[in-house]
């Protein structure tokens, strides 16, 4: 009889009987997060009430629970770059946004970062960018970190580019970057070197002002 049943299971298609992930259940029970009051946020950031309203509406639409976890973040960001793989760069972005390292971005984090990026001073923007590049948060950008970042950016382009991406193109890019930024040639870029080098470069200065009127 058991043999018969055994033979049945061979014949049928493989069925996965796995329990639901405990993680999923846990996340379902996480309480909705509500942001601080509108006035408080207005005071903390450089946005006015209306802009905050627009931002919150979009934020809440996508994340009804009030907090974005990394997967959702990656998903949202990937929708803007359908031809390539934006998940690596989204991961670095997530870490840059999630200043408290809580694993989820709440609306306050979101708005604070946006405030810096869109309404902040040049120094603040460069500081934020330095933070993004400095993956391990040790205060220095070394070549490996830069390679990861540049490769993540190239990944977003996808495979089908013109001209075709060569395997050493990221390396060349990183070398050029270090050539420009690393003043004292010690193999790492510090915050001051970074800010100084960027301020010298006309293109970078101009491009930082590009997204002023996004909201």
């Amino acid at each position: 009889m058991g043999l018969v049943v055994g033979t049945f299971s061979v014949q049928s298609k493989p069925v996965n009987f796995h329990k639901d992930n405990a993680d999923d259940d846990f996340e379902m029970t996480v309480v909705c997060h509500r942001p601080e009051g509108l006035d408080k946020l207005e005071a903390q950031t450089n946005f006015n009430k209306r802009e905050l309203q627009v931002l919150y509406r979009g934020f809440k639409n996508e994340c009804p629970s009030g907090a974005v976890n990394e997967d959702t973040f990656k998903q949202i960001y990937s929708q803007f770059f359908p031809h390539g793989d934006a998940s690596t760069y989204a991961h670095y972005l997530f870490n840059a946004f999630d200043t408290g390292h809580t694993g989820s971005i709440k609306f306050e984090d979101f708005v604070t970062a946006l405030s810096i990026l869109l309404r902040g001073s040049v120094t603040e923007k460069l500081q934020w960018t330095f933070n993004l590049y400095d993956i391990n948060r040790d205060g220095y950008i070394n070549k490996e970190e830069m390679m990861d970042i540049v490769r993540a950016i190239y990944d977003m382009m996808g495979k089908f580019t013109y001209p075709v991406l060569k395997t050493d193109a990221p390396k060349q890019h990183v070398d050029a970057f270090f050539q420009k930024m690393d003043k004292n040639r010690d193999g790492v870029v510090t915050l001051d070197e970074f800010i100084l080098s960027c301020q010298e470069d006309e293109n970078i200065m101009r491009s930082l002002q590009l997204f002023e009127n996004v909201i």
Partner: protein, 542 residues
């Protein structure tokens, strides 16, 4: 584009600052938003129910009605809202699509009305979300089948100028179309029954000749049975040849199941004719007679239930295959076990594994003939396990086959019911059509009488709506253009059923109309004369 996450575009653009220091080339200029307005609320009034949404929400999908400038056509200046004279319930799904980026299909909604609304608002149904897509597709398929069924019924209607061949084919396929077809249908059915009965009775032992064992009737009345067989085969051959001639696609017909059955049914007879002289192959000839039983399958043309059964078995092929496979495995396993278990006992019937197959099959199907029984204890234990598992193995796929059969059978019932109701439905439609056309002629008569009267009286006589009078005026213009008259149309069946007196009344009315027009047109004169002599009433087709 990621329209659902359009609200996050500012964030994505802001995050692009991260690329700036890495970039070597200057960035392109950002697009500027000309006359950047504040985001405003739009009011959408759909048949009285007001929906409000942000303008940006609607702008997410610019290739739809609400997202493009097409909605300006529906703008109401006084109330400052967009008015749509459509179903507000379906509009809910449409608007939710803009809000969430996912289109859902509500289950209670009729598929056709939903499709219409989507087409109106310029939304392609293919973007329905995965959650509702299956349901949508199922309903669409059902609807398509229904339409196809209706179309098939229309095919039965007689087309004018059908060749003899086409008429014959139609008669063969659908016996209801003409009496000849019906007669043919019953005659063939009768002969199939006769042939099958003959084959059966042939083998019955009848009448014993003394000093000899009982002979079957076939050998006693050889000539009679031979004549009967010949007659049946003649009929079947003629039928097959006629079908072959009438078939629109001969190769496809020859490959179809029914024609193969026909051929197999009549072939043994002809082969027998050829081979009777040769004694050696007469044994084979006897075997061929077995194929005569296939004549019974010819009944499937006559019985829809048989066809449904055959179709069910075909559609359950995978379940049947599974049943067969698992049975075979179980048989082999248990036969082996039983053989080795009974090997020890003397005078055991389980002489080999294939010999044990018979025992296993009989036990698993709970037949239990008792011609082979295990004698050892181990054999008995395994034998009981075998019979218990047999019940399960057979019981498992059977419900699937049964449910399949039930579904197909009910589908067929529904199709038949629809066909029966269709006649009544068409009759009702015809009646309303005749009413509308007779309304026109009625008003024309009134108008005729009032041609000379004053405008006031004409207005009093006008009890019909503006739409109706405009429609009648249009028909009147057509009449004048073609210098013809629209005839009054009567559905004779309806009238005759209701009141025979009406029949004559209408005839009189027709005459009246035409006599009045007599003065105004010589064309009509000749027609009235014809009418007086023939008094024919035209019938409408549905």
């Amino acid at each position: 584009m990621a329209a659902g996450v359009a609200a996050w575009l500012p964030f994505a653009r802001a995050a692009a600052i991260g690329w700036m220091p890495v970039a070597n080339l200057p960035m392109p200029v950002a697009p500027t938003e000309k006359n950047k307005k504040q985001d405003e609320l739009i009011v959408l009034n759909v048949s009285g129910r007001r929906f409000q949404t942000w303008k940006n929400t609607l702008d997410r999908y610019p290739d739809t009605l609400l997202g493009s400038s097409e909605k300006e056509f529906f703008y109401n200046e006084e109330t400052k809202e967009y008015f749509f004279d459509r179903d507000p319930d379906v509009f809910r799904s449409v608007l939710n699509f803009y809000r969430t980026g996912k289109l859902h299909y509500p289950r209670y909604e009729c598929i056709l009305s939903y499709d219409e609304e989507l087409a109106f608002f310029g939304i392609v149904p293919e973007i329905i979300g995965d959650c509702c897509y299956e349901e949508y597709k199922d309903r669409k398929r059902e609807n398509a089948e229904r339409l196809m069924d209706d179309q098939e019924d229309n095919k039965d209607s007689k087309l004018p100028n059908m060749t003899f061949r086409e008429t014959m084919w139609r008669a063969f396929e659908n016996p209801q179309t003409s009496t000849m077809a019906l007669v043919f249908y019953y005659v063939t059915g009768f002969f199939i029954a006769v042939s099958v009965m003959t084959n059966v009775v042939e083998t019955v032992p009848c009448g014993s000749v003394p000093n000899q064992k009982e002979v079957p009737c076939g050998e006693r009345y050889t000539v009679a049975f031979f004549c009967m067989d010949t007659a049946c085969v003649m009929i079947f051959t003629v039928e097959y040849l006629m079908r072959l001639y009438a078939a629109p696609n001969r190769y496809r017909f020859m490959r179809s199941v029914m024609s193969i059955i026909d051929v197999v049914a009549i072939l043994p007879y002809y082969i027998g004719l050829v081979m009777t002289d040769n004694e050696d192959v007469s044994g084979a000839f006897v075997t061929l007679r077995v194929f005569r039983v296939f004549r019974i399958f010819k009944f499937s043309r006559h019985s829809q239930g048989l066809r449904i059964l055959g179709y069910t078995l075909k559609s359950c092929a995978s379940e049947l295959g599974f049943l067969l496979f698992s049975l075979t495995m179980a048989i082999i396993i248990f036969a082996t076990v039983m053989f080795y278990a009974e090997k020890g006992s003397s005078s055991s019937k389980f002489t080999s594994i294939p010999a044990s197959f018979w025992y296993t099959i009989v036990t698993m199907t709970t037949l239990g003939y008792g011609d082979m029984v295990p004698k050892t204890i181990a054999g008995k234990i395994f034998g009981s396990i075998c019979s218990l598992s047999g019940v399960l193995v057979i019981a498992l796929p059977v419900p699937v086959i049964v449910s399949n059969f039930s579904r197909i059978y009910h589908q067929n019932q529904r199709a038949d019911k629809r066909r029966a109701q269709k006649k009544a439905r068409l009759a009702r439609i015809r009646l309303t059509k005749t009413e509308s056309s007779s309304a026109f002629l009625h008003s024309k008569r009134n108008g005729l009488f009032n041609e000379s009267s004053t405008k006031e009286e004409q207005h009093l006589g006008k009890s019909s709506s503006l739409l109706e009078s405009q429609h009648h005026h249009l028909l009147h213009c057509l009449e004048k253009t073609t210098v013809r008259d629209l005839k009054i149309v009567i559905h004779v069946l309806a009238i005759v059923v209701q009141a025979p007196s009406l029949f004559f009344f209408f005839a009189v009315v027709v005459l009246q109309i035409n006599t009045i027009r007599l003065c105004s047109s010589p064309f009509i004169l000749t027609r009235v004369c014809n009418k007086l002599s023939h008094l024919d009433i035209r019938m409408t087709q549905g």
